[in-house]
């Protein structure tokens, strides 16, 4: 997509003004940050559930000119968060099953083997309702809607804090040094 290339071009231009600004001064700062071992195996979800989560992650955030939810590692992030919360464990185990039941009832097959159009049609009313759900009303909503709400939260969190989501998709360009703050010069 051309706008991405433009973005990179503009970032390149800004990059030339970014020098490390401590000439002739004590070199402060150890600009290396710690990286932990990335997640590898799921802690809570079973293989079939992980597959289903990967399908859902891509339905919420599909691959485009940048990776989708599945390739960005969202399922393992969701697994980590869910594995640490008893309420979420219950909600997700049941929520994923509910989706399959709904798919079987309407189309005679499990959710992740439905075509994309049918998957989207199943999710649409749930997500629409979940979008309207406000925190104080959460407990009063149906299980399917509560599941859709938390699922969307975790997929959005997981994707936009991943390298693919934050850097490739959103074009995060901070965390670097400016000798001078360029101010409003970028204004169009």
């Amino acid at each position: 997509m051309s706008s991405r290339r433009e973005t990179l071009k503009i970032l390149g231009a800004i990059g030339t003004t970014c020098i490390f600004p401590f000439p002739a001064e004590e070199l402060y700062g150890q600009h290396a940050s710690h990286t932990e071992t990335p997640l590898s195996a799921p802690r809570f979800f079973r293989p079939g559930e992980m597959e289903q989560l990967a399908t859902l992650a891509d339905l919420f955030i599909p691959p485009t000119d940048t990776p989708g939810g599945a390739a960005a590692g969202v399922p393992l992030y969701v697994d980590l968060v869910v594995s640490r919360d008893a309420g979420y464990r219950k909600l997700f185990r049941a929520g994923l099953k509910d989706l399959n039941k709904l798919a079987r009832r309407q189309h005679g097959t499990a959710f992740h083997t439905l075509g994309e159009a049918r998957q989207v049609a199943l999710l649409e009313p749930l997500v629409a309702e979940a979008d309207q759900l406000r925190t104080p009303d959460f407990d009063r909503a149906s299980r399917a809607v509560r599941f859709a709400r938390v699922l969307k939260n975790l997929i959005a969190d997981g994707y936009y804090t991943s390298r693919a989501g934050l850097v490739e998709e959103l074009g995060y360009s901070g965390n670097s040094a400016h000798a001078e703050f360029p101010g409003a010069v970028h204004e169009h």
């Binding site: 150890q30 940050s33 992030y77 969190d157 934050l166 901070g174 409003a184």
Partner: protein, 518 residues
């Protein structure tokens, strides 16, 4: 055992300023801090990004490094390690709220009393800002301001349509290098801790240089549990518990300054019970813990339409670069006091607002990409009026890991507070709409911020705890210096005023020590 001239409990903005100002005058100072020493060069995750951590949560400290733990153990430097460094002077209106608006409480001092100490502190720590000539926000001694962001310009134009002025923020963050500290390089994560000390922290700017005088001793990892008092009604020092090995210790001093930050300071005095002070030290008036007046904030999340779909740029800067100063104090309104607004202080290391965007799929993904450069948080701060239910107390049952009672904040918003809150939310939305914003969320409840009050300054010992020099009315060699002494809160960020009070109190203590009055 060595007896210090002054023992200061706490090493943040107040403790650091006091310690440096006293040690430079040749006074023997002990600073007692509940947390460990923190190497600000290496301890912080200033440059981390969320995907470096499996749970995407960037921890305060690097792995294996201690520091941020609880309110009684933040590390040497206290909250200045993490603050955003906004540095306003209070004005006459802030000091004389009762006289002007008939609500709250007047300070026993006024702007001219504190102005010379603001000068001293600004020169010492480096504050960048613009001289705006506003009566309500006195100018100071500033380094050049940092340029506004493009989003600030847009909000400035919107505000101007409503007759409001948006100014450069003023921060204790360097825009020019000074005293071996480099200027800010705008890496955009100030509140994760500045690893180059462009942003003021008391450990590097005040305490470390002061140790070279030979007059300052820092006791880290020492959680003070009591300020002790003699039968002759003089404080004699402090008793502490070592944070790690739990051994008890004691520091003797001729003077004690409690500067542990608002609620912890009040808590420590309440815990310091003795035969003379059964309800807590310096609490013969029963005023200790009352008049707790934290700032309250609102908040609006929005997208500036002019920026939707524009390419993302590196504009994290040093977080907020602009400010909407108080203006309602000059207008007709049905409440006392006023509010100001900070905005654009988010960094772009995550997009938590993506949860709140409707739908899913490609259109959803596209809508977030387009709005990412346009996202804006706008957060007004209001001044609270004291009320009887808003207090700091000790929890009668719950204890912390040191076995000390937990300090409780009892929040209660009064009618005036809720009126300000409603109006500041209305104005925030109005300014943003005038700037051409798509509103995403508007918060519906006031949230406490900047803890102030609880140890009120005044001239009447029946209605206040400390005198105009921050000395307790009850005990002549006990002082309290931090946000707890504020009789009224203003709507302005309090730290520079705390530091100016600390500089003024240091001078006062030095004079008394010289005259052998303590």
């Amino acid at each position: 055992m060595e007896r210090f001239d002054v023992c200061i409990v706490g090493s943040g903005a107040a403790g650091g300023t006091l310690a440096a100002h006293l040690a430079r005058r040749g006074i023997k100072v002990a600073v007692v801090e509940g947390g460990p020493p923190v190497n600000t060069r290496t301890a912080f995750n200033t440059h981390a990004l969320p995907f470096e951590f499996p749970n995407r949560h960037i921890p305060r400290m690097k792995p294996g490094v201690e520091g941020y733990e609880s309110e009684r153990a933040r590390g040497v430097g206290g909250k200045t390690l993490w603050w955003n460094a906004v540095a306003w002077r209070f004005s006459h209106r802030d000091f004389k709220g009762r006289s002007i608006d008939g609500a709250g409480e007047d300070w026993p001092i006024d702007y001219p009393d504190l102005a010379p100490y603001y000068d001293i502190v600004e020169r010492e720590v480096g504050v960048c800002g613009n001289r705006d000539g506003l009566e309500d926000l006195p100018d100071g001694i500033f380094q050049p301001p940092v340029p506004l962001k493009r989003s600030d310009r847009i909000i400035q134009r919107g505000a101007a349509r409503l007759g409001l002025r948006v100014i450069h923020v003023r921060k204790a963050t360097l825009s020019r290098s000074m005293d071996g500290r480099p200027a800010c390089h705008f890496c955009g994560n100030c509140m994760a801790g500045c690893d180059v000390v462009a942003k003021y922290n008391s450990a590097d700017v005040h305490l470390r240089p002061a140790t070279s005088t030979g007059n300052l001793t820092i006791f880290p990892n020492a959680v003070v549990r009591e300020v002790t008092v003699s039968r002759e009604n003089r404080v004699t020092g402090v008793e502490y518990i070592h944070r790690l090995h739990r051994k008890e210790g004691r520091i003797d001093a001729r003077t004690v300054v409690v500067a542990a930050a608002c609620a912890p300071s009040v808590g420590l005095l309440l815990m310091s019970r003795s035969r003379l002070y059964r309800q807590g030290l310096a609490n013969s008036s029963g005023q200790l813990g009352r008049h707790f007046i934290p700032h309250f904030t609102g908040g609006v999340q929005c997208f500036l339409k002019d920026l939707i779909g524009t390419p993302p740029v590196n504009d994290e800067g040093f977080l907020d670069h602009a400010y909407l100063p108080s203006f309602m104090h000059e207008r007709k309104r049905d409440y006392a006091r006023s509010f100001g607004a900070q905005f654009g202080y988010h960094n772009r290391r995550s997009a938590g607002w993506a949860r709140a965007m409707p739908g899913f799929g490609e259109a959803y993904k596209q809508s977030i990409r387009e709005r990412y450069p346009a996202f804006m948080t706008f957060s007004p701060y209001g001044e609270m009026i004291p009320n009887p239910q808003s207090t700091v107390t000790l929890d009668p049952k719950k204890k912390d890991i040191h076995g000390l009672p937990l300090v409780k904040r009892n929040y209660h918003w009064g009618e005036n507070d809720l009126k300000i809150f409603a109006d500041m939310q209305r104005w925030s939305v109005a300014v943003l709409e005038a700037a051409g914003a798509e509103i995403l969320t508007v918060s519906t409840r006031p949230m406490p911020n900047h803890e102030l009050g609880g140890c009120r300054m005044g001239t009447d010992p029946r209605t206040s705890v400390v005198d105009p020099f921050c000395r307790t009315h009850d005990v002549p060699n006990l002082y309290v210096v931090d946000g707890s002494v504020f009789p009224s809160a203003s709507e302005k960020n309090p730290t520079l005023t705390i530091m100016a009070l600390a500089a003024r109190t240091a001078e006062h203590i030095a004079e008394r020590l010289r005259k052998n009055e303590v």
